[in-house]
Amino acid sequence: MKTLIKGGRLVDPGQGLDEPRDVLMDKGKIEALLDPGGKVSTGVRTVDAKDCLVVPGLIDMHVHLREPGQEYKETIASGAAAAAAGGFTAVACMANTKPCNDSAAVTDYILERAKAAKQVFVYPIGAATPGLSGEGMAEIADLKEHGCVAISDDGRPIMNAELARRLLEYCKGFDIPVVSHPEDLNLSAGGAMHEGYISTQLGLPGIPAEAEEVMVARDILLAELTGGRLHLAHVSTAGSVRLVREAKSRGAAVTCETAPHYFTLTQEAVRDLEYHTSTKMNPPLRTQEDREAIIQGLRDGTIDAIASDHAPHSPVEKDVEFILAMNGIVGLETSLGLALKLVHEGWLSFSQLVERMSVAPARILGIPGGTLRPGSPAHVTVIDPAREWTVDVAQFKSKSRNSPFQGWKLRGRAVQVWVEGKKIV
C-alpha cells in the first residue's frame, strides 16, 4: 500500500529543497514528492505531518552497541530501538565489542542480530588491526565485502604512524574510509578530564587539547601523503577545527564529526555536577572557546557530521570514583534534541542540520540514504521542531542511563521514523 506523508515541510539539502511537499512512498522507496494540497488517490494511506519537518532519515555514524560481549550495557536490539526513538534510520557501530569486529564472522553476526531487531539499519565498522591491538592489519577487504562501511580501532588510536600510513594507503584500494580516534596516548596518559583551570581546581589529572590536535595533524599529513580517505572521529577542540579547516582548504580528503556534548557542554560540567561520572568521556569536555569553535565548524562545514558516540555503560562502570569510571555517555536519544538547540539558537539552519545528521554521514560511509529523491529508499524522519520534552533517562530505550542531560528541557524531537517505507516509530 502506498503511503503519503502529508502536510509537512520537506528539508532535503541534497536536492536543494526546503519547502512544503508531500512524500509518497511505495514498496520501500520514495515514489514522488508532490505539491501540497493535491488530491489523494484512493488506496493511499495518508499520514499527517502538519507543522513538522520531513527529512531524509537521520544517520548516526558513530555508536557503540556493545554486542557481542557486553549485552548488559546494550544489545544491538536495544541500541537499534534507542536509535529509532532518537529519530535515526541507520547507525554505524564501532568495532570494540568482545570479541571485536575484526573478522567477517563477527560482522555477519552483527548484521544478523540487526536484521532480527527489525529496527534501523546497522552498518558495522570493522577493526583496523586484529584485536584492536594497534599492530598489523585486519582483513579489511574481507570485512568490507561482508558489510563493513569503515575501518577503525575507535577508542584506541593507531599510535604507530607508519601503520596509520599503510592503513590509509591500503584502504584507498577498497574505497573504504579510515576512522581515526585522534589521541596521542602519551600526552593523554592518566588523564580524566580536560587539562586546564578546572582540572587543577578539582585535582584531576588533565588531558590537554594538544593530545587530540597532535594526532589530528599527523593523520591529516598522512592522508595527504597517501590520498587515503580519513575521517576524524569526535573532534572536540578549536585547534582540531582549525587544522581540519586548513586541510580542507588545501583539498585534502578529510572529513570529521563532532558529538552533541562538545557543542553543548564544557569542562565546567565536571565541577558543576560535582565529579558526576556522566561528565566523563574521551575526548573530554573542553572549554567554552572550544565549544564555540565546534559550533563555528558545524556552521561553515569544516565539521561534516554530528555523531553521538553513543557509549552505554552500566552503573558498575559509572557509579564509582571519577578517576575509575569508564569514559562515555549514551547519546542516541538526545542527539537530535541537542542539535535542534543549535537551530533554535540560530547557529544552524534546518537544512544544515539535515546535512550534518543525514546527508554527510551517508556520503562519508557510502551507504543508502541522505536524500528523499524519488527512487531512493524510503528512510524518512519526521521531526516536530517545537515539541517540548524533558530528558528522562528512565524512559530511554537504551539499556544504559549514563547521560549528563537528565532533566534537561529540550525543544523538538522525532515523531515518526520510517525505514524502507515501514513506520518503526
Binding site: E195, Y197, T200, L202, G203, E274, V320, E321
Partner: protein, 316 residues
C-alpha cells in the same frame, strides 16, 4: 553554634565566616589537651567513623585523638581503594557503614571527588581528610590556626607554598583558605609541577625560591614524592634538592620572623634540610598540635549542625 556548610568537603565552598568560627572554636578547645584528664563529654554517644582508603598515620591518629578527647566513639575503617575489577565499590562500602548509623564520617581517599560521591549518597556529615590531588581542608585549617597563633593575624601576610603543587591537595586547600582570610599566596616549583590555571585560584607563581621567599611571612614546604624523581617531571632528587630545597643558605634571605611549615611527613635533605626542619623558624610540631584542636572543633561543629538540623526537621 553551627557552620553554614553541612559537610567539610573542601575550603573552596567555605565562607570566611565559617573558617573564623572553626579557628575560634579550635582555640577554645585547645586547652583540653593540656588537662590532666584530656576528655570532655561533648560528643558522648556519637559515633565517628574514620574511613581511610589510603595509608595515613598522622591524619588518622589526629582525627582519632580529636574524637576521643570529645568522648565520641571512634571507629577506624581502613581499606584499600577498590579497583573496578575487584572488591566492594566505594558506594557499597559507604551504604554499609551508613546502615550502622554513624554520626560523622571522616574520609581519606586517593580519588579526587570520592567524599563528594559519599555526600551524594549519605546524609551523615562528611569531613574530607584528603581526596587525591583535590583538597585537604583540615590540613589548611590547622595551618591557618598555627599561623594565626604565631602572627596574631592572617590578613596581609605573604604565604609561599613550594614544591609539587600539581599533585598537592594541601596546596589547593591552603590557597583557598589563606586567600579567603586576606593573605597573599605564592606557589613555587619547577614549571612541570605547577598546574595550569593555578593563578585563577588566587595564587602568584614563581619558578625560583629566591624570588619568592625574601619577604615571605610563611614558607610552606611540600613533601616531594620520591617516586616522581625519576619521572619526566624533574630530573632527579639531587637536582630538586639543590634548586628547590629549603636550606640554611636560603633561610638567610628570609625575614627574621618567618615561619617554616611542612604538612609532613618530611623528606629530610630533599625539600627541607634537617637544620631548617629542626631550626628556630620551624613550627612543624605546632602544626601537628594544632591538628588535634582544629579537628576537635570541626567534629564538634558539624555534629552540632547535624543535631540542629534534626531538631528543625522535628518541628516542621
Amino acid at each position: 553554634m553551627a557552620l553554614l556548610v553541612k559537610h567539610m568537603l573542601g575550603l573552596e565552598q567555605v565562607e570566611r565566616e565559617d573558617i573564623e568560627t572553626i579557628l575560634d572554636t579550635a582555640a577554645s578547645l585547645q586547652e583540653i589537651s593540656y588537662r590532666p584528664v584530656k576528655k570532655v563529654p561533648t560528643l558522648r554517644g556519637k559515633t565517628q567513623v574514620n574511613l581511610f582508603f589510603e595509608p595515613s598515620t598522622r591524619t588518622r591518629t589526629s582525627f582519632e585523638i580529636a574524637g576521643k578527647r570529645l568522648s565520641a566513639d571512634v571507629v577506624n575503617f581502613t581499606a584499600s581503594a577498590s579497583s573496578l575489577s575487584k572488591g566492594e565499590t566505594l558506594a557499597d562500602t559507604a551504604r554499609n557503614l551508613w546502615a550502622m548509623r554513624p554520626d560523622i564520617l571522616v574520609v581519606r581517599h586517593s580519588a579526587a571527588g570520592a567524599p563528594h560521591l559519599l555526600a551524594k549518597l549519605l546524609d551523615t556529615p562528611i569531613i574530607n581528610a584528603g581526596d587525591g590531588a583535590h583538597e585537604h581542608p583540615t590540613q589548611a585549617l590547622l595551618d591557618m590556626f598555627t599561623v594565626r597563633e604565631k602572627k596574631r593575624k592572617l590578613s596581609g601576610l605573604k604565604v609561599v607554598i613550594a614544591g609539587d603543587i600539581a599533585h598537592s591537595r594541601v596546596a589547593r586547600s591552603n590557597i583557598y583558605g589563606f586567600s579567603k582570610m586576606g593573605a597573599e599566596v605564592w606557589v613555587v616549583g619547577p614549571p612541570t609541577l605547577i598546574p595550569p590555571g593555578i593563578e585563577r585560584m588566587g595564587a602568584r607563581v614563581s619558578y625560583r625560591l629566591e624570588e619568592a621567599i625574601p619577604d615571605a611571612d610563611v614558607i610552606m614546604m611540600l613533601r616531594i614524592q620520591l617516586e616522581r624523581g625519576a619521572g619526566s617531571l624533574f630530573p632527579s632528587l639531587r637536582e630538586y634538592a639543590i634548586r628547590f630545597g629549603l636550606n640554611p643558605a636560603r633561610m638567610r634571605l628570609c625575614k627574621p620572623d618567618v615561619l617554616v611549615m611542612h604538612p609532613g611527613p618530611i623528606n629530610r635533605g630533599v625539600e627541607i634540610s634537617p637544620e631548617v626542619a629542626d631550626g628556630p623558624y620551624s613550627v612543624i610540631l605546632d602544626q601537628v598540635e594544632a591538628g588535634v584542636a582544629v579537628r576537635m572543633a570541626l567534629l564538634y561543629l558539624l555534629c552540632a549542625g547535624a543535631e540542629h538540623e534534626d531538631t528543625d526537621q522535628g518541628r516542621t
